[in-house]
Symmetry: C2
Subunit: 248 residues, 2 copies
């Protein structure tokens, strides 16, 4: 595998940093190639905007992101940090996002990496022809590896925070599946600030073993494009998947 | 009402910018007070990290966000932009978030505003005593006002992108409700890049009328803390709300 690991945590010596290193070492030990985008170390700018593109603008007086992205992709005029990340995404066949849950989502710096790098024409586009299983990054697989403060029961289907699959839906379906990735089940390290050393070591060992066999995992199942009509709703004859669609 | 409007769009003259101005003018016309945090205009830094706190650290060698936030709150040593936003949140009794949907969530710069400003001890905390209806920002109401590229059917319960309420769950439950806000139903401007001038004008008028009566709106209903057991799961005798819990 060619693995791109994108990492976001403000403290290099955090558990997330440990898990980043564990993944790199384990995957390299399995003869896989690994590249890392450590977003805090890179000081990656998070706000999508005019600085994303260089050279003459489509419209210098009114910034329309998609029009500027299309031109920048055609002319190779994206900002260097966007070009570099798109090159890594083209190169990889497996993406791992390593982050602590912040407000039931990814940290802003990682959200900015998605906002700015997953541009139209590259990750999706074509007026609805290049998305979901035809997304611009198809042929690749993706995995969320995430730590949480709260313990697992709070993220159960009847938990106070809501089902973890519901919380991850915007990432799993809206970013990964939308762009053509096959999505693996998430690796979640629950309640990491409150667990003892033994429980922590067990979680780490579980992830290490998983990484060794990652190549052979079956992805989650989502509805296919053919299940939806021209109005982008499920066709009447299609039985909806239970739960959050991607539970096959 | 004392309204804090937080706005995130890279183009000042966008529809989102228009909606920001519409809200300010309409609410001021109704004798309400309005303050605006225009995050792009402020160049608001998005990445939570050591720069959030000033002065001596709890641990200068290892950054633990919650420990540093607790000390900074007690000592008044947050970075100036965090202090200023917390002061606005304390002042307001109504929050409006105005943004274009980016990757089925808010733009990274707004996510960073939440990550950095909604600190422990201020917006939530106390080991599970200051959250949900006891959250640090209780007594306030909150509204998402959001534009989307896709039309409404794609966000139906059987739509290709998934139910809009599922997509907004991390914001509605995980940010707003979690911190004590009462959540109003979202104002969604669907498919704004593809609609004609008449449809656009109708959407704008619908929002303007809504703003006039905003003060009298009933918030969405969520499960109460008392519905959950000590394990943070619904008590067996509680009937789960249908849909996304907050549909009463």
């Amino acid at each position: 595998m060619k693995v791109l690991l994108v990492h976001a945590h403000p403290e290099p010596a955090s558990l997330n940093g440990f898990l980043r290193d564990l993944a790199v070492e384990t995957l390299q030990g399995g003869q896989h190639q690994v590249r890392v985008s450590d977003l805090y170390a890179m000081n990656f700018p998070a706000a999508l905007g005019p600085a994303d593109v260089q050279g003459p603008r489509v419209d210098a007086t009114h910034f329309k992101a998609q029009a500027e992205q299309k031109q920048a992709l055609a002319q190779g005029s994206f900002a260097p940090e966007i070009k570099a990340e798109q090159e890594k995404l083209r190169w990889c066949d497996h993406l791992i996002l390593q982050f602590p849950i912040y407000w039931f989502s990814m940290p802003a710096i990682m959200k900015g990496w998605v906002d700015r790098v997953f541009t139209t024409g590259f990750a999706y586009g074509g007026g609805g022809t290049m998305w979901y299983e035809n997304g611009g990054l198809k042929g690749r697989r993706a995995l969320v590896s995430m730590t949480t403060g709260a313990a697992a029961p709070a993220f159960a289907a009847d938990g106070i925070h809501g089902d973890i699959d519901r919380i991850l839906w915007p990432i799993h379906n809206g970013i990964m599946h939308f762009c053509g990735f096959q999505v693996l089940r998430p690796e979640i390290f629950y309640g990491v600030s409150r667990i003892d050393a033994e429980a922590r070591a067990a979680m780490i060992e579980r992830y290490r073993r998983r990484l060794v066999g990652l190549e052979r995992e079956q992805p989650l199942y989502f509805h296919r494009l053919a299940d939806f009509g021209a109005d982008h709703r499920l066709k009447p004859e299609v039985t909806p998947l239970t739960g959050f669609q991607y539970r096959g």
